[in-house]
């Protein structure tokens, strides 16, 4: 199995002047392309023993008392580009509270901290690649970029696949949020269909009556090529 080269056309560009922080932090020279070697084809494996009982429950995992906000399930599957499920994938999330405030000393937004909301969670996908979090819907928040830029409601996702070359950090957005088309960070992605795949639809099939709504967010990692004609990996 060899990792398929990354299709960079479906990703954001590195230098995106509308997102000011990227201007001085984007490499100017071309990336050096090559075949994946064992350093990229292998990767850390995390076992379920890593997880605490409430790790995937952001409503309760900070103090044990419930966080304030609109209760939601966020669920989906981690797949690869061959549409195969990726079991055993560590999925980490972080987000602002219901008012749009992060628990971080660099976040000085007016909205108050919620004493019962820490803002992070993690889980490991099942055999079918599925994962699930219980959380509150994060608020939109203003940020210093343009004179009046706001982030749409979003949850940050970090995903480990089976190899270090599949490593991915992204953000999930919510269906119907009018701030999505205005966001300079989303606009770093030139391909509208790639943006659409970051927007989680409301999923009433998983909403629980009198309890919580649900949103579905599937994540696709780089795939592998499987052929009986495979040559030895470069470097071996």
């Amino acid at each position: 199995m060899t990792l398929i080269p990354r299709n960079r056309g479906g990703h954001p560009v590195a230098y995106a002047p509308g997102y000011k922080s990227s201007v001085a932090r984007s490499p100017k020279l071309a990336l050096i392309s090559g075949s994946a070697t064992p350093s990229e084809q292998t990767g850390p494996v995390f076992g379920h023993d890593l997880l605490g009982e409430l790790d995937s429950n952001l409503i309760l995992n900070f103090t044990g008392e419930p966080a304030i906000g609109e209760r939601i399930i966020v669920h989906g599957r981690v797949l690869d580009e061959n549409a195969r499920p990726v079991p055993g994938a560590l999925v980490e999330v972080w987000q602002a509270n219901a008012g749009g405030r992060y628990r971080h000393k660099k976040d000085g937004y007016l909205a108050p901290l919620d004493p019962n909301f820490g803002g992070c969670g993690r889980t490991i996908t099942g055999e079918d690649g599925s994962y699930e979090f219980l959380t509150i819907r994060p608020g939109a928040y203003p940020w210093p970029n343009g004179p009046n830029d706001w982030r749409p409601m979003h949850i940050h996702f970090s995903v480990f696949g089976h190899s270090f070359g599949q490593r991915l950090i992204t953000q999930m957005y919510f269906e119907g949020d009018p701030l999505i088309p205005l966001c300079p960070i989303i606009k770093t992605i030139p391909d509208q269909s790639a943006v659409d795949r970051l927007i989680a639809p409301l999923d009433m099939s998983r909403a629980m009556p009198l309890d919580c709504l649900a949103y579905k967010f599937d994540i696709v990692l780089r795939g592998s090529r499987q052929t009986m004609f495979e040559n030895k990996m470069e470097g071996l």
Binding site: S26, G34, S39, L79, E81, R167, T170, I219, V220
Partner: protein, 188 residues
């Protein structure tokens, strides 16, 4: 019309943002009690065979400013060329919130095949829209057969991938995101 391929497209990356630590190293930024300890604190146990080394470095942007909100991850084989088992060989290094220095205490990896010893790095931060891949090679090793280093068109840039030896068991590896001395970033 032709048959559909039925393949999927990789999910687009988005920046890790300024608050990446909340999700990846919450204890480091004072969010304690959710996870017992942050992931990837050390890549190997203390008794791991091999040469124990410390690598330190900073990451500078195109203006020469050191990033203090960056998260670096590393992945490597052990001193015998073996990856794993489990998460052994993986480390996560938040840069110091004041100095921007990141530190990796590890064992020097073995070379695998023709590749000389190296550690794979993955760098994310606010302003980085898709994680940057690079590698740490080591001063003093023979790199004359390494397929990646020997193939670089601009051989003057090879030195950006080689950690400087600063002591018996210590190395320095500074990364420049942009501009003069820009580090070689990879697409492997």
């Amino acid at each position: 019309m032709v048959q559909p391929l039925n393949t999927l497209t990789e999910t687009a990356s988005q920046t890790a943002g300024p608050y990446v630590h909340i999700g990846c190293t919450p204890n480091f930024v004072g969010i304690e009690g959710i996870y017992d300890e942050d992931l990837g604190l050390v890549p190997f146990p203390k008794d791991e065979p091999g040469e124990h080394i410390t690598i330190t470095g900073t990451i500078q942007d195109g203006t020469g400013t050191v990033l203090r909100d960056v998260l670096v991850e590393s992945w490597q084989c052990n001193a015998e060329g073996k990856f794993g088992p489990g998460s052994r060989g993986f480390a996560r290094m938040p840069s110091d919130l004041t100095t921007g220095i990141w530190t990796l205490n590890t064992v020097k990896p073995a070379g695998v095949g023709k590749q000389s010893p190296h550690i794979a790095l993955w760098i994310v931060a606010r302003g980085i829209n898709i994680g940057l891949q690079t590698r740490i090679y080591f001063e003093g090793d023979d790199h004359s057969a390494d397929p990646l280093l020997t193939r670089l068109e601009h051989q003057s840039r090879v030195e950006t991938l080689i950690a400087k030896k600063t002591g018996d068991n210590s190395y320095q590896f500074d990364i420049r995101l942009q501009g003069e001395g820009e580090t070689v970033f990879l697409d492997l």
